[in-house]
Structure formats: structure tokens, C-alpha cells
Symmetry: none
Subunit: 225 residues, 2 copies
């Protein structure tokens, strides 16, 4: 996958946490756990997850209030938030949509339903997300076609190479550290050897046929004209 998707999961019942964590990790998501609303807010600010799943009923701070505070955090206004609710809870209390929830997931939780719902939500996110194409210094990156173009000629890349290139070109001139690159192209907990990034960089350079990817020794790489 491109950058691994990070999900913050908050519930006060360890069983549910464990159950959902298991299913989410199995799908390849990056999962962070919290056990009350207070933690939810702190972790959200710290980790900037892509999606937050909040139980409504929790000690210390309930999900509604947590949601409100998260939404009031700069940079987290557009995070996806879904509520967990028991079927028989009083829906009027779950006026969750008033505080800006994006979806709700009913208990008891069925793994398949939950996962498909999450995928649907994340798909919505993708639609809004960054620009589909970037044009910079004679080459154009089309994230939808998974192709780069130079003078109208398509250059195709295998997945990792493309994602690496897409990352670098997403902010031309910015230096991405190796850790950055590892986290965002490979995923947070993936461990790969020292030379892996270099090899991919090399192949991209070869295909692009120019010097647009610069090495910043001791730091990382950047895409620059």
C-alpha cells in the first residue's frame, strides 16, 4: 500500500479493542489504541490518524465530547470520525452528527461489515485528498493513472517506485528524510535494510533519465529541478 493508513481506535472495553485491533491489523491498517475520551484527544493530536473510531460511552470523557475537542483541534478538522454505538442505545443521545461524525458503526460488531464500512469511509477521504496530478520540471505525475509523463510519453513504475516518486514530487524542493520515506512509503512498522531506499531511488532516476532527484547527504532526498 501507499502510506499505511492509520486508525485510532478508542473503547473502554479491552475485549472489543482487541477484537477490532486484530481485524484491522489483519487488513493492513496501522492501529493505535486508546481507552477513554481523554486519550482519544491526546492520541489524535499526537498521531494525526486518518480515521478515528470512538466508542460513545466511556469513562473520563465520552466519545461525543472527545469528538468535539478533536474537531476543534487545528489540523484535525477533516479527520474522519466514526462512532461505535450499541444498537439499543438511545439514538437521540447519539446526535453525533451534530458534532461532526462521519459514520457510526453498530455493536455487536461484525468484522466484515466493519471493514467494508471503513473502506467506504476511506474511499471518501481519497476523493477529497490531494491533487491527482503534479507537474514539475518537465515531468508530470498522474496519481490516478499511476504514470509519469515526460513530453507526453508515459513512463511506468512499479508500485513502490511510483509511490516514492509521488511522495517526493508531492512537495518539490522539500527534503524527505529516510525515516520519513520509510514511514510513508513502506509503513510505520516495516523494517527494511539500509540500501533498499537507494535501490529504488536509483531505478527512478534511471527511468526519469535526469537529475531531478537530489541526494542530501546525511538527511535524505528531494525532488528539485
Amino acid at each position: 500500500m501507499s502510506k499505511k493508513i492509520k486508525i485510532l481506535l478508542v473503547d473502554d472495553e479491552p475485549d472489543i479493542l482487541e477484537f477490532m485491533e486484530y481485524n484491522l491489523i489483519k487488513e493492513g491498517y496501522d492501529v493505535i489504541l486508546g481507552k477513554n475520551g481523554k486519550e482519544a484527544v491526546d492520541l489524535a493530536r499526537l498521531e494525526k490518524p486518518d480515521l478515528i473510531i470512538l466508542d460513545i460511552m466511556m469513562p473520563v470523557m465520552d466519545g461525543i465530547e472527545a469528538c468535539r475537542q478533536i474537531r476543534n483541534t487545528p489540523g484535525l478538522k477533516d479527520v474522519l470520525i466514526a462512532f461505535l454505538t450499541a444498537r439499543n442505545e438511545d439514538y437521540s443521545q447519539i446526535a453525533g452528527f451534530d458534532v461532526g461524525a462521519d459514520d457510526y458503526i453498530g455493536k455487536p460488531i461484525k468484522p466484515r461489515v466493519m471493514l467494508s464500512r471503513i473502506k467506504a469511509l476511506l474511499r471518501r477521504l481519497n476523493g477529497v485528498h490531494s491533487e491527482v496530478t503534479t507537474k514539475i520540471g518537465g515531468i508530470e505525475i498522474d496519481r490516478e493513472k499511476y504514470l509519469a509523463f515526460r513530453d507526453g510519453n508515459a513512463i511506468s513504475f512499479p508500485r513502490k517506485e511510483f509511490e516514492l516518486l509521488a511522495l517526493l514530487t508531492s512537495k518539490p524542493g522539500k527534503v524527505f528524510t529516510r525515516d520519513d520515506i520509510l514511514a510513508r512509503v513502506w509503513g510505520n512498522d516495516v523494517v527494511v535494510g539500509d540500501r533498499t531506499i537507494d535501490v529504488h531511488i536509483r531505478k527512478i532516476r534511471e527511468k526519469l533519465g535526469d537529475e531531478s532527484i537530489k541526494t542530501v547527504k546525511g538527511i535524505g532526498y528531494k525532488f528539485d529541478i
Copy 2:
């Protein structure tokens, strides 16, 4: 001049039906009427409207269930569905979200509000699926006839194959991920094995007899000339 837009309107109160029908027809829409959820499903399948407006509370089958069934009908996965809801029905809103509604129109209905909402919805539709036929690289897809044509010769496909082809050709060049494809051709809650998509792709390729469907390894498939 495009085809007239077809709206299926379902409510059990004749007054509301008449009132809305009047306003919609005045705007030049093609209106079909139903008076309960059962009729909604039947008419939706029969008429393939562009937009369905469902009351939540209805005899025989409520709007929620009708929506669910419509969404599970092949070929109607992407139909626009809007719910009619009385102001204070929190429950409706939440449950409606659950089954994939696109919008809510509150009662009491104000004609102008309703019409602008409907136009906004249909604008969304235009981006994606408006054209009945697509012509691309020697082949033509007719979504109404469920047929593809190459040099005037019809090629017929079973439903799944056709929908898959229709999806890919809806945006030539764009890579559709496997998850995308699963969600939009098979449906959100359907779980099928790993090789199912491949098998369908293979059959389509066989029938098209060319290389227009490309594999993007690790991502998905695209239709490209």
C-alpha cells in the same frame, strides 16, 4: 440535449406525492411514483431512475429497507438515493447513513430547497455516470443495452463482466484498485475470493480480443488504449 432525468418518488401520503410531483414535472423531470417500499424496489429495478427519493416511514416496507435492497441490486449500486425525513427523526438520519443514502430532504418540504438539493445531487451524478454510452479505442459500451460493440458487432457480457468493463471504461486510464472494483461491482458487504476479479478480467479480455485492459501490479486494473 440529454435524456430526460428520471426520478422515482416514493411516499405513502398522496398529498406529498402530488405536491412534489407537480414541482418536479414543472422542472422538466420525468417522475415515477410509488407508495411504499416494496413498490420502490420494484420500480427502481424496472425503471432504473437517476434519482430515488424515499420516505422513511412507509407501510409494507420502510425506506431504509427499500434503500438496502435497491443498493443490493446489480446495476443500481450507484443510483442516487435521498431520504425524506421529518425534522426531529435523529434515528432516521443515522440509520439512513448506514445503508448508503446520498442526501436527506427534511419535511416540511419547501419546493425551492428541494429542487436545489436535487440539482446538487444530480450534478454529482454528472461527473460520473451520466453517459449511457462510452466510445473508447474501437469499442463502444452501451450501459443501457448491456452490450459492447466493436466495429458495429455486438459483444455480449454476463452481468458482472459487463459491470466490471463498464466501470473500467467509465474513466479510461484511471487505475481502479481491487478494493474499488469489489466495492463498486460486487458491493460493499460482499466478500469474494482473491482470484474472482482476475477470472472476470480474463474473460473480458478474451471477449474483447485485445490488450486494452492493463494490469497494474499491486494496485489494480485500468482500461487504456
